[in-house]
Each structure stands twice: as C-alpha cells, then as structure tokens.
Amino acid sequence: MAENKVRLRIVTPVRELYDKDTEMVIMRSSIGDVGILHGHQPLTTTLDYGLLRIINGDEEIKATVFGGFASVDSRGITILSDAAEWPDEIDEKRAIAAKERAEKRIKSNDESVDIVRAELALRRALLRLEAKGK
C-alpha cells in the first residue's frame, strides 16, 4: 500500500524532526483538528499548539507542535514549526514546574506579570504533560 502513503516532513529552525511516509497525519490547525491522507487537496494552514498524531497502520506516534504552519501539496505534508518535540524528549518534572509557575503568575494579580506570556507558558506545559500522559 505504498502508493497510499503521504510524505510527512516536520521542520523546525534548529532541526528536521521527521521525514517519512505515513498513512495519516492528524494535526491541530488554528480552526480545529485536520486529518490528512494521501491525495489531499493542496492546503496551507496555520497551526495551533497541539498534539500531532502520525498514524501508520496500528502504530501511532505523537509529537508536540508549538504553533507554526503546515503546507500540503503534491509532494506531501510539510510542517514548519518554531518548536516541535517527541514525547520522550519532554522532561516531565520541568513541565510540571512550568505549569505551576505559570498558574501562579496568572493568579497573582501582579501588574508586572505578562499575562499573555504566562498563558502561553501554561499551554505549552499542559501540552507537554498531555503528550507525556499517554
């Protein structure tokens, strides 16, 4: 069934995370989850913070993607993200600590706190923990 596969590349500024043929890719676009199969119509979409699921038969691999955008064309799917990582690269303790720190910042009512930044940090931490949890 090699002809029914789609090429997936995940590229970040510092490295190329993934470059293989897959059956299906599910990603979190800014307007909802999108699943891409072989022969998809050309598509360019921005991505939200979310889990990327790469499905190959019974096997499913996950990766965290922190924003960026995806472009689908006849050559395959290219995901360009500022940061992306595999669950086993995530340091769980660090993520928990980051989550607590961010929550404290948001609740603190301190004017000097950059709420947007704290929220982003919280979302990153939550996503990392979600990836780690399963």
């Binding site: 500024p13 510092v14 307007i31 119509q41 050309p42 598509l43 360019t44 955008f69 472009s71």
Partner: protein, 285 residues
C-alpha cells in the same frame, strides 16, 4: 648584531604566541564542525518557508499586505551581523563595509547590530544605532532572532523604516565566504522563484490567505535573520581558523629565521672567545 640573550628572548615570545594561535586554530576548527552541522539543520526550514510564501503570493494574484508593499524610500534600517571578537582576518571589516554601502544618508538610517565589532564600526561612523546585541553571535539562538525580527517588523510597520536591509556573511566553503547585503522588507516574492504553479491555483488556505500571510511573513523574516546569524557564525569561525592557521605558519617562519640568527651569534661568540683565549695565552708571541 643583537645579543644572544635578546634573540633568545624573542624566540621565546614568538613561540608562546605561536602556541596561542595554534590553540585558537584548533578551538575554531572544532567549533566550526559543530556550527556547520547547525547550518545544515536550519536550511530546510528557511527554504520551506520561502516556498510557502511564494506559493501564496503567486497563487493569489494581486494580494496586498503591508509587509509586501513597496513605499517610497526615505528611511532605511540596517541589520548588521558581525562577531564579538577580532583575530579573524577581514571577516568583521568586510561585512561592515557591505552594510555601510547601502547607506547614502546617515541621518535617515537606523542600525541594529549583532556583535560588538559591528557596533563599534557604526559608532565610529556616526550611524544611529537603535539596538545592539552582543554575546549572541557565536552561538545564535532562535529566540534572539525572534526579538530582532520583531524589532525589524515594528520599524517597518510604524514607518520608521521604509526598507530593512540585512548584512551578513554567506558561507561558501571553510576557506571562502562572501559578505552579503539583502533586502528583508518589504518582502520581494519575485526573487523566490515559482516551481509548481498548478498546485497553487487549487490550494485552500485556512483560515484565509491574508491570515496565513500575516502569520507566515513574520516567520519568514525571523527565519532569514536566524539563518543569517547561523551562517555568519560559521563564517566567523572559518575566518578565524584560516587567520590563525596563517599566523601559526608565520610564527614558524619567524622562529626559523630567529634560530638562524641565534646560531650565528652563538658561533660568533665562541669564535671570539677562542681568539681571546689564544691571544691571552701568548702562544704566538
């Protein structure tokens, strides 16, 4: 003729200089290998981003966006990427000169410098520096590129600069590199090339073309800056390696000629001593 002791002292000092240059050469070459790998890792991202932007702009004719819009050029901004340290041949001077070449009127230019050498260069020439970064050029981080990119986009949007240029050094090989000056903003898509036109006409954009462009162009600017920083870092190390290699070689040559001088002086001294002893003993009287 210099005395033996003087020559010996010089040999010693040249020798220790040579040791330093040799060590710097080794350090630079081992760092260079690592930096080169990083460069290879950043290139795909840069190329893909370019492709997507070109696709959007070429695919949807007549799209307009502030970042793409050409304005009458009154004010310019220049981003200059140099190293923090010297001892790397003409690396810093060459790229600084390239940056300076786009400045026709100092009053209307604001400069952003990366690396202390570039900052000194502009300061000496009286160019207005609005922001300077030091300590990041050897090991560029993407978050630094983000900061600089945001600053550049800000300048452009607030019309404090009608064009933004970037001066960096392009890596060709370890032995050769070339200073480059490119225009970052407004983004000029015509340079990107157009590979697969049939794909683009059918492409759907989510949420829509403008939103994607709005998101992708800042990304592109950041990527260009980051890529240039990484590339410049490689060039700096390459230039330092070459410079230190030739310095080591020069030191060797110098030591050789000093040794020759030293031996000649030694021989002269011995001959003189023998003459004195023979003369003093009175054999020939």
């Amino acid at each position: 003729m210099a005395s033996m002791r003087d020559i010996k002292r010089r040999i010693k000092s040249v020798n220790s200089t040579q040791q330093i240059t040799k060590a710097m050469n080794l350090v630079a070459s081992s760092k260079l290998t690592r930096a080169k790998n990083r460069l290879m890792d950043t290139r795909p991202f840069f190329q893909e981003t370019r492709k997507v932007i070109a696709g959007i702009v070429n695919g949807s004719k007549g799209i307009s966006h502030p970042y793409l819009e050409k304005r009458k050029v009154n004010k310019k901004a220049v981003i200059l990427i140099t190293g923090d340290r010297g001892l790397c041949g003409g690396y810093n001077a060459n790229v600084s000169k390239a940056a300076f070449s786009c400045i026709d009127n100092k009053e209307n230019v604001s400069a952003i410098t990366i690396g202390s050498k570039g900052r000194e260069f502009f300061k000496r020439r009286g160019v207005n520096i609005i922001q300077s970064y030091t300590g990041i050029s050897e090991n560029p981080d993407y978050s630094d590129a983000l900061k600089i990119g945001r600053l550049a986009l800000d300048l452009f949007i607030k019309e404090e600069a009608d064009e933004v240029y970037l001066a960096y050094t392009e890596f060709i090989s370890t032995l050769s590199s070339e200073p480059k000056l490119i225009k970052v903003l407004p983004v000029d898509v015509s340079e990107f090339g157009n590979e697969d036109a049939d794909d683009q006409a059918l492409t759907i954009y989510e949420p829509d073309e403008e939103a994607v462009l709005e998101y992708v162009i800042p990304k592109y600017v950041n990527t260009v800056i980051f890529g240039a920083m990484v590339e410049s870092a490689v060039c700096e190390l390459g230039a330092r390696m070459t410079a230190m290699d030739s310095a080591t070689e020069n030191a060797s040559e110098m030591i050789d000629s000093l040794n020759l001088l030293y031996n000649r002086a030694r021989q002269g001294a011995i001959t003189q001593e023998i003459t004195e002893i023979v003369g003093g003993s009175g054999i020939y009287d």
